[in-house]
């Protein structure tokens, strides 16, 4: 099943509470761990990989605690953020070394499989010092995958990658998730997360701010009216008609055309809109929910 359960976990370093009473469950598939810089994402990943012990609470994988538990280490692959690689080793040597550390029966073969998976078979005999950023990231992934772990944790894996490298890595992560592995990656760049993981966990200043599908999270924020931009064949008419409906908090005609609208009742508004448009013969050209993006959801969560 490979489910990581974080139960009322706190972790502090002297006066700094990096993780503050967080409870979450990470299951199979791809989950994005989001938060501003310094929110505690790296600390959480360190806790999940068994590198840190919680100061309070428990971190378990399928019920077994992760801290100082060698058996459980074998289930987890970690791709850390820092670039602490051994520059003088070749890619192959690096992955084999990790395979040996994991105590695998046939480290060479396992390494080859992992390297083939991340498509670095051609470059594996070059020294790591000659690798580009994307290649380093992939070789780190290979070493994290060499023992075929059901859980894969990646700390800011897209940092500084160029678009092509990023697309490739996203595909890889999606594939891992589709295979049924539990994949968690952290990021503070929402553009990256949006494309790979619809399931997100948001941490802000050490606290767990939200969890789930970000569209669904948005709709849970009932204290914030949902914003839309509409382009229609008759903005003024439709705006005046919509304003009459209680689900609409406000409507503004834009100088460049279109209606900026705030709806207090999302569900009701979405039904009222097409109905009233049809009734009054107004063609809808474009309907865009403007704060359903991950970025808006995120900034609402951070600022609340």
């Amino acid at each position: 099943m490979s489910e990581i359960r974080i139960d009322h976990v706190s972790r502090w370093f002297r006066n700094v509470v990096a993780v503050n009473d967080v409870t979450m469950t990470i299951g199979p598939g791809v989950t994005g761990l989001l938060g501003p810089n310094g929110a505690g994402k790296s600390t959480l990943i360190a806790l999940m990989s068994g590198f840190l012990a919680p100061s309070a609470g428990s971190v378990t994988l399928d019920g077994a605690p992760l801290w100082r538990n060698e058996r459980v280490y074998r289930q987890v692959g970690l791709v850390p953020e820092r670039e602490a690689l051994f520059e003088y080793l070749t890619g192959r040597e690096f992955v084999v070394a990790n395979a040996e550390l994991q105590g695998l029966a046939d480290p060479g073969a396992a390494a080859q499989r992992a390297i083939a998976l991340i498509e670095m078979s051609d470059a594996q005999d070059r020294e790591i010092s000659t690798y580009s950023k994307g290649m380093r990231q992939r070789i780190k992934m290979a070493s994290a995958l060499v023992h075929d772990p059901p859980v894969l944790l990646l700390d800011e894996p897209f940092n500084g990658m160029d678009p092509r490298q990023r697309i490739h890595l996203m595909e890889l992560i999606r594939t891992m998730g589709a295979e049924g592995r539990t994949v968690l990656f952290s990021s503070h760049i929402l553009e990256e997360v949006e494309q790979v993981a619809r399931q997100i966990e948001v941490v802000v200043a050490g606290r767990h701010a939200a969890s789930g599908d970000f569209g669904a999270i948005r709709r849970l924020m009932t204290d914030r009216p949902n914003r839309f931009v509409l382009r229609t064949a008759d903005d003024r008419l439709l705006a005046s008609v919509l304003l009459a409906d209680p689900s609409v908090r406000g409507a503004r005609l834009r100088a460049e055309g279109g209606i900026e609208l705030e709806a207090s009742d999302f569900g009701r508004f979405s039904q009222v809109l097409p109905r009233l448009a049809r009734e009054h013969g107004v063609r809808l050209l474009e309907v865009t929910p403007t704060d359903e993006s991950l970025e808006s959801v995120f900034s609402y969560l951070v600022s609340s």
Binding site: S132, D162, P163, R164, E191, P274, L284, V287, S303
Partner: protein, 310 residues
């Protein structure tokens, strides 16, 4: 007159070719620069500033030759480096005044312009405190201010949103846009985040392994595909319900990831059909947008029709 123009620009190092016969023209407004190879972008900037000689080929900036008029170019250009470059023990105000003078402004002018420029980038009283205590967002603003203080005709902004949180990134992107539109300064901005470039630039230049992959107006990248993305809600299977209804009505519709439906636009009545079917089914209409291409699609196409791992 082109702001930047390169002809056959090549720069080779012992182990790597950073720029490979690059021919590109960059004009006014905001131009985004994306690279699929880190070395190319930074090398290009150094050559444009006249700091590094090209191996072959040439370039002009604001009409001046980079090989022979480097000093003149640097007086007219502002550069915002990607890396940390601010000393910790001076205030933003003192630093920008000093750098303004280093760009050739007389002291009084440097002082005045510093005060204005710091206001434009959004630094308030913190400008008088030592830079060491600034947040990343504030430091980026200082870096931007020192690039603007001498009223350059062109600014080179290297990953200006690096390390910024979403709110600060929005602010920075807004600033970049203002510089290009209101201040009347040509902007070359690099980023590896394509969504940002889509928002902020008029024109995008894509480099790949030191060569020009594509250079077009942003709108060209984002041209419509001729389909709509539709999202409905009200029941768990709302998207399937509407999708089926659209097909039954003779339109081409298919699932598009998440709960989205992609509908091919047949004629101007297609949107009305979507609207009306939504009402008839008792569903709510959340989204109906033209589906655009994105800059990213260029990378998916690749050179030989497939994504090339780097």
């Amino acid at each position: 007159m082109a702001v930047i123009e390169t002809t056959g620009l090549t720069k080779t190092y012992p182990r790597v070719t950073a720029l490979d016969h690059l021919d590109v023209t960059i004009g006014d407004g905001v131009t985004g620069l994306v690279g699929a190879n880190g070395a190319g972008k930074s090398t290009l900037i150094k050559i444009l500033l006249g700091l590094v000689p090209a191996t072959s080929g040439g370039a002009t900036v604001l009409g001046h030759d980079v090989a022979s008029e480097g000093g003149l170019i640097r007086a007219l250009v502002g550069y915002m480096p990607e890396h940390d470059c601010l000393p910790a023990d001076v205030s933003a105000s003192d630093l920008v005044v000093h750098l303004g003078q280093m760009s050739g402004l007389p002291y009084a002018a440097a002082r005045e312009r510093t005060s204005d420029v710091l206001r434009h980038v959004g630094l308030a009283e913190e400008r008088y405190r030592p830079i060491g205590g600034y947040s990343t967002g504030m430091k980026q603003r200082v870096k931007l201010a020192q690039a603007l203080v001498h009223d350059p005709r062109l600014v080179l902004l290297d990953e200006p949103t690096n390390g910024l949180d979403p709110a600060a990134r929005d602010d920075m992107l807004g600033l970049v846009r203002r510089i290009g539109q209101e201040f009347g300064i040509a902007v070359l901005v690099t980023s590896h985040l394509l969504g940002e470039l889509e928002r902020v630039s008029d024109h995008v230049v894509i480099l790949d392994s030191g060569r020009l992959l594509r250079s077009s107006a942003t709108t060209d990248f984002l041209h419509a595909t001729g389909s709509l993305l539709v999202e409905v809600q009200g029941r768990p299977d709302a998207d399937k319900l509407l999708g089926q209804a659209l097909v039954d009505a003779g339109l081409t519709a298919r699932p598009a990831g998440g709960a989205l439906i992609e509908v091919e636009v047949r004629d101007e009545t297609t949107r009305d059909v979507v609207r009306d079917l939504t009402v008839d089914l008792g569903l709510g209409l959340v989204r109906m947008q033209d589906r655009h291409h994105r800059i990213e699609d260029v990378f998916r196409e690749g050179v030989a029709g497939g994504v090339q791992p780097v």
